[in-house]
Amino acid sequence: MGDAMAKARPHVTPSEGLIFEKSSPGKHAYSLPPLDVPTVQPEEVLGAGFVRGEIAGFPEVSEIEIIRHFTRLSTWNYGVDTGMYPLGSCTMKYNPRINEVVARLEGLASEHPYQPAELAQGCLKILRALEQALLEITGMDAITLHPAAGAHGELTGILMVRAYLTAKGNPRQLVLIPDSAHGTNPATAAMAGYGVAPVKSNRAGQVDLDALRQLMTENVAALMITNPNTLGIFEDRIRDIAEIVHARGGVLYLDGANLNALAGVTRPGDFGADIVHLNLHKTFSTPHGGGGPGAGPVAVKRFLEPFLPLPVLEESPAGRLRWNFERPQSIGRVRAFYGNFGMHVRALAYILAHGPEGILQVTRDAVLNSNYIRKGLEDVYELSYPSPTLHETVFSDKRQARFGVRTMDIAKRLMDYGFHPYTVAFPLIVPGAMMIEPTESECKEELDLFIEALRAIAREAETDPDLVKTAPHTTRIRRLDEVTANRKPILRWKPAPPSAGPAPEVAD
């Protein structure tokens, strides 16, 4: 393995039980000031029937134990801060520390959504500035920042489609979705009350225009498309696609998951999209946080503006910002309050740090990195679709499968080399998919190590396939029994402590 393992070295990770297993009666970590008002008897003011007994099972631990517990847990994680995290479609870029600082400022983190708009002008100016920047980057006319995540933005967008078409007389019944799309797209359409019809991809990995023409009837509400698509391929017929959809009175919905390939280079609003949702946790660097919180703003063309969710930010004649709730055609609220404000602060800080040239450079570097990886691996891994790619590249395990080594095995083996795996087995149109998105945040050295690691694994697949098939070998735990986890779910800790080490029959 030699140099290919340059990034990885063995690492001691202390054992750590569950917080409940560290508990013993009488320990505590909280501190409250002494009560400075008269004590009340809960049973008296609430009535005995409303007062609970102790919270059975709740932990009793000290502060240092909490610090050690969560610090140890953190060391069992891999993050962007640890190293390259090339999960395709997830855009795992650097999360600038300054974003965390400004989001926690007193005067921002402390502000309450029910304080009057007059006393929240600072928050509202931040939201306004973010709205304007996102409208410019997407080339759209109006925007809502309320949705809490990308999938929530999708739902918001498709509900707007439904409201718009209903206002025109017929909400229609179907949403078209390419077979390469994210699973959230069909799930969203179903939640918004639509049936789903898949559009197949052609041999170039793009939407098949003939298939689209046949499917695009006056019963179709919208086409949900991702561009560049999940293969990283730009749909270069996007204007034609938009025309086909618009000619039948449909709406073109753009899943903005892959905006990191486009910002500053082309704009959804300029290539025919009527709606686009953005993932601030992808393109705009808000942290993924182990799976959220995200934020999924939705930008639209003018004709959809009346349907935006409540409330809408507007400027009074006197130049003060305020929320407008008087919007009779609105789809209504999609979330209480005004969305994930803390994420909006971070995204704006990111945009301001870059400026116009910085955003363009980000896009260029992201596409450069991806193509550098493609070049470094295309002779050892199969490229199912030869079309040019932008910010991500999808290989397949076709050549390694001859030795019984599949994409999941290669992914697991990457961990031994010190990398987070790529996205496994997605998009569904590529059997054995290996979807790699490096983002702009990787230096050349890290990319070279990654390429060398995947080349080494390709060699191992031929010479020692079992080594790959049983990987990872260096992680704190090995492959987990997911079948039993599914069949007999254990979803919470219960007081009888399970063995924290190897079971005797296995240890023997």
Binding site: F20, V196, G291, A353, P502
Partner: protein, 452 residues
């Protein structure tokens, strides 16, 4: 650009390796007709000190100098410093969803602990890894109840957070659900007679909240008996989780839709927060959202994985239980740390302080001539105060003294004129409460009586 780790020489070398003379060649697939041929009209670039300055200026244009008594689903509590210290570890906040369990055990074990703590706190049997927030946890719960019962009629108490009900209406419209409202009584609680009258065998679920939007505790056991007579599910919204340090958990509810913000998340002008759905074990395969489960690895060691994923969108696509893809893992982690810090004794002590301070304030405010606590049901840290003058006038006068004195209930309930929803927590010192009482007293004395 300080975040981009490449020199121009390296960029050139990489392009040469790819076989391009310019980075523009990599974008050749994008037709020229749709290229943006001008710089984006956005501000920046700003240096780090400039960014800090700008956001500090914005912060100064808000209300941090004000003494606030605002609740209504968002609660200000002391945040132990270890919460941010630990949640700021890059391994936690820069990780993705733990799809690769071998290198994500930190996130997965923390989620498993979160699910357990939520079960202990709510008295439910299982809890998911979290949802966006409380307001979206309600429609997710309703859709789940509709799926379980195969019925489409849903009764929702008017004392459930008004914005949550608005979000439910948005989701329900597209699903063809019939949502009907349940009135409240003079006690501020759900009108049980009306409930008994409105329940029928087409009713999928009844949604209530405790403490409800007026701060009043509901008798969840009694409500659940009524629902179960008609095989309708009871959904209980919990807005202020700190109340569960003291109040009976909603054990009898079939689904609990909880907002976890009060457990260590800052108000942050409305988000990010953390919703949770907790329920009975028998409903596990119909619930939305991620779940972490315990299992063992090939060597016999205990470990955790995301499980029962066949409910979810990336497997089931349009047949999934929800389109939800993210949870709010980092927020859930913060609440897990918060609950660990307070622990068994601390949750009780924290809740008792909230109870004592809110009751002190209510008692003192009720002495203001013409003022009274609007509802008679037991309350935790929030209560409606009826005042003898126009609420808008009162709020303006309080604001002049740098006090944000509650939410005007009329905004959501036209019938509740001259009523203010006030929230008091452990963060308010007695001196703050006395200042509020004095300010209300003088404002009411000066203001013209009656409706303005």
């Amino acid at each position: 650009m300080r975040y981009l780790p490449k020199s121009d020489a390296e960029r050139k070398a990489m392009l040469a390796r790819i076989g391009c003379s310019s980075v523009e060649e990599l974008f050749a697939a994008i037709p020229d007709t749709i290229r943006l041929r001008r710089p984006l009209a956005i501000p920046g670039p700003l240096s780090e000190p400039e960014i800090v300055d700008l956001f500090q200026t914005r912060a100064s244009e808000n209300a941090s100098a004000y003494l606030r008594f605002l609740g209504g689903g968002v609660y200000s509590h002391f945040r132990p410093v270890v919460v941010d210290a630990l949640a700021s570890r890059g391994e936690f906040f820069t990780a993705y969803t733990p799809y690769q369990p071998e290198i994500s055990q930190g996130t997965l074990q923390a989620i498993f602990e979160f699910q357990t703590l939520i079960c202990q706190l709510t008295g439910q049997e299982i809890a998911n890894a979290s949802l966006y927030d409380g307001s979206t946890a309600l429609p997710e719960s309703v859709i789940m109840a509709v799926r379980i019962s195969d019925r489409t009629r849903v009764l929702v108490a008017r004392s459930v957070h008004p914005e949550y009900r608005q979000v439910l209406a948005t989701y329900a419209g597209a699903q063809g659900l019939q949502i009907e409202e349940l009135p409240y009584t003079a006690t501020g609680q759900v009108d049980r007679e009306a409930l008994a009258g409105q329940l029928d065998d087409r009713t999928a679920a009844v949604a209530v909240q405790s403490p409800n939007f007026f701060g009043c505790a509901e008798d969840v056991a009694a409500l659940s008996r009524l629902c179960h007579e008609h095989n309708a599910l009871l959904i209980c919204v919990i807005n202020e989780p700190v109340s569960l340090g003291l109040l009976q958990p909603p054990v009898e509810a079939d689904i609990v839709a909880l907002e976890g913000q009060g457990l260590g998340l800052p108000p942050s002008y409305g988000g990010p927060y953390v919703g949770v759905l907790a329920t009975k074990e028998r409903f596990v395969r119909t619930m939305p959202g991620r779940l972490a489960g315990q299992t063992t690895d090939s060597q016999g060691w205990r470990g955790f994985v995301l499980t029962l994923a066949t409910r979810e969108q990336h497997i089931r696509r349009e047949k999934a239980t929800s389109n939800i893809c993210t949870n709010q893992a980092l927020c859930a982690l913060m609440t897990t740390i918060f609950m660990s810090v307070y622990g068994k004794q601390g949750m009780r002590a924290l809740a008792e302080q909230n109870l004592a301070k809110a009751h002190y304030a209510a008692h003192e405010l009720a002495k203001v001539p013409g003022a009274r606590v609007r509802f008679t049901a037991p309350f935790f840290n929030e209560f409606a105060l009826e005042v003898p003058c126009a609420v808008a006038t009162l709020q303006r006068r309080l604001a002049e003294q740098k006090i944000l004195g509650g939410i005007a209930l009329e905004h959501f309930y036209p019938e509740l004129k001259q009523s203010l929803l006030l929230c008091v927590t452990e963060t308010h010192a007695r001196a703050d409460l006395d200042r509020l009482v004095a300010a209300v007293r003088s404002a009411c004395a000066e203001a013209p009586r009656g409706k303005a």
